[in-house]
């Protein structure tokens, strides 16, 4: 499965690439790299610099009158102050979705890797298959599933988990469920890659040594699946915290995340300095979470 390719497997690189055989080849690698690297430099790295510049524009300018780069660092605290609730909400929702996804994704990955036998590949295709349909169309399908007239809401009302007028759509529940759903495969695939290499005999050894199943899981399975767990968590959390589609389609402005604010800053309000500052704050926050988490999880295999 091609989607597995970016999962760290630890054996991606050959020991050493062969040295250039003669002078004729000295420049060949650079020639091969040039077009791709130039593209990434021009359209990935350079735009980031431009975005950094835009975040320091004089906020009193506008798209029509032009912006002046005045190193207005004040844009950052201003933006943070104005949109603090959306900012914290992004990480809160992404975190809650992550917990849900772990609760669902770990058993799924473990079952496919260790228990599925010859059905392994088929089940793996089943994990990826939902992504074959358009992201937006799938998210809209949740509108139907969670609709006020749908059977899920009906059932929850019947068992009094929801009041007679209670709803799921346009609530935080719907947004978190949507986030969980949309990024779950990104969590499951790297986890699967780690768990697939887990030697079942280690668990048998643990139980021979009188470890309870829970203890064997904590002491053997969990540490051995750590690289996949870390990679999967990151692949889940990064897009989930920057997402604004679920909040827009399944929520209301009360559930808006920072992505919604950035989207409207650039495309509706045309306030580029603020949008750029918020983009950088989002990236900085994600990087901080990622590196803090990596340090805690204590694995270097991901980067």
């Amino acid at each position: 499965m091609s989607a597995l390719a970016h999962v760290p497997t630890g054996s991606g690189q050959p020991a050493t690439p062969p040295a250039a055989r003669s002078g004729r080849y000295r420049f060949l690698p650079y020639l091969l790299l040039l077009p791709g690297a130039a593209w990434l430099f021009l359209f990935f790295a350079l735009p980031l610099v431009q975005l950094a510049a835009a975040s320091l524009y004089d906020p009193s300018g506008s798209l029509a009158t032009g912006y002046a780069l005045t190193w207005a660092f004040g844009n950052y605290p201003d933006a943070l102050q104005a949109y603090w609730p959306q900012f914290t909400r992004s990480f809160l929702y992404a975190g809650m979705a992550l917990v849900l996804a772990l609760l669902m994704g770990y058993p799924l990955a473990y079952a496919i890797a260790q228990k599925a036998g010859r059905w392994k590949n088929l089940l793996l295709v089943c994990v990826v298959a939902p992504m074959f349909t358009s992201f937006l169309v799938r998210t809209l399908a949740w509108k139907t599933i969670l609709s006020d007239n749908g059977w899920i809401v009906g059932l929850l009302r019947d068992v009094h988990l929801l009041g007679p007028d209670g709803r799921l759509l346009a609530t935080p529940v719907a947004v978190v469920l949507g986030l969980t759903y949309n990024f779950l495969p990104f969590l499951v695939l790297p986890l699967y890659a780690s768990l697939e290499r887990l030697d079942y005999r280690l668990l048998e050894a643990a139980s021979d040594l009188y470890a309870s199943p829970l203890r064997a899981f904590r002491k053997v399975t969990l540490p051995l699946s750590m690289p996949g767990l870390v990679a999967g968590t990151l692949l889940f959390f990064i897009p989930a915290s920057g997402d604004y589609i679920n909040a827009e389609l399944l929520g209301t402005p009360k559930e808006y995340m920072i992505g919604n604010v950035i989207d409207s800053a650039f495309l509706v309000r045309l306030d580029y300095p603020q949008g750029a500052a918020l983009s950088f704050l989002l990236m900085a926050a994600i990087l901080a979470v990622v590196f803090g988490y990596l340090r805690k999880a204590g694995t270097d295999e991901v980067l």
Binding site: S2, A5, H6, G12, Q13, P14, T16, P17, P29, L32, L33, P35, G36, A37, W39, L40, F43, F44, A45, P47, Q50, L51, A54, P107, Y110, A111, I112, L123, V125, C126, V127, A129, P130, M131, F132, T133, S134, F135, L136, V137, R138, L140, K143, T144, G150, Y181, L184, P213, I238, P239, S241, G242, Y244, I245, G259, F266, A276, S279, L282, I286
Partner: protein
């Protein structure tokens, strides 16, 4: 006793796994179901009445089909460029030793770790400040940018797992470098390149966030769905969603069957 508890543990786990798969497939089933629906009103998402009309005339709303065609064009162009650029880079990284390798690796890794939102807004900032009008070509440029990294890792994985002795054998048998590349290297790497191209196309076809910031007035299929979500979704959107799912599923099944047959022959 342990036997029974293990049997239970196995089944319990498989049960949970199947429930989670059910959760993953529920929306697909709903999309497929809604593709046969005649909605009661434009803004209704509930199932109303069975009909085959949506499948019979998928282009009844012509804007949508225009958007699908545009998405296919953009996906095709972005895939071709990204696959060529990414494959060249993968060859350089796996087959050659050179200075600046780690810098290149970082440049390839970063786009995969950067939130799409940040890539989208930064490109928008660049295009606006450079005075480039946004539209079809800026979308293609953006899509190539985020697809290249995925192509590199996919092709690299294939190249790294290749037995280089086959190429040495060809050279020993007096094949020229070009012949070795054409007859040995390329056929062996090709499955990786095809997989990378398919991945690139699906990433491009389904991209919304980056496209949304760089599309100008050009409408791709995801952009159409986004816009229509506010005005009311035509049921034909679900036909496209279901068709995409079926086509991709067929491709995967075909490649699995081919792989299995190849394994039997060797």
């Amino acid at each position: 006793m342990t036997r029974i508890s293990r049997w239970l543990a196995d089944r319990w786990l498989m049960g949970v796994a199947l429930l989670v798969l059910g959760y993953l497939f529920l929306p697909i089933a709903v999309v497929a179901g809604l593709s046969f629906n005649r909605p009661s009103s434009r803004l209704s998402y509930d199932f109303n009445e069975f009909t085959l009309d949506n499948w019979r005339r998928p282009c009844a709303t012509s804007d949508m089909c225009d958007a699908v065609v545009r998405s296919v064009q953009i996906g095709f162009l972005a895939t071709v460029v990204a696959t060529v650029l990414g494959t060249l880079m993968a060859f350089a990284l796996v087959r050659h030793r050179f200075r600046g390798r780690s810098g290149i690796n970082v440049l390839i890794f970063l786009p995969m770790a950067t939130p799409e939102l940040v890539m989208g807004t930064s490109l928008l900032a660049l295009f606006v400040s450079a005075g480039v009008p946004q539209g079809f070509w800026t979308i293609v440029i953006a899509h190539v940018m985020f697809c290249v990294s995925f192509v590199v890792v996919t092709v690299k994985a294939r190249l790294a797992g290749m037995d280089s002795r086959l190429e040495e054998a060809a050279m020993d048998l007096y094949a020229s470098e070009w012949q070795t590349f054409r007859r040995i290297t390329l056929p062996l790497v090709l499955p990786g390149i095809v997989a990378a191209a398919l991945l690139a196309f699906s990433l491009s076809f389904d991209d919304f966030i980056i496209t949304n910031f760089n599309a100008g007035t050009t409408v791709t299929f995801p952009m159409y769905v986004w816009g229509a979500a506010q005005r009311g979704i035509p049921p034909q959107v679900n036909v496209i969603g279901t068709a995409m799912f079926l086509i991709a599923l067929l491709l995967v099944l075909a490649s699995t069957l081919r792989g299995r047959r190849a394994k039997r022959f060797s």
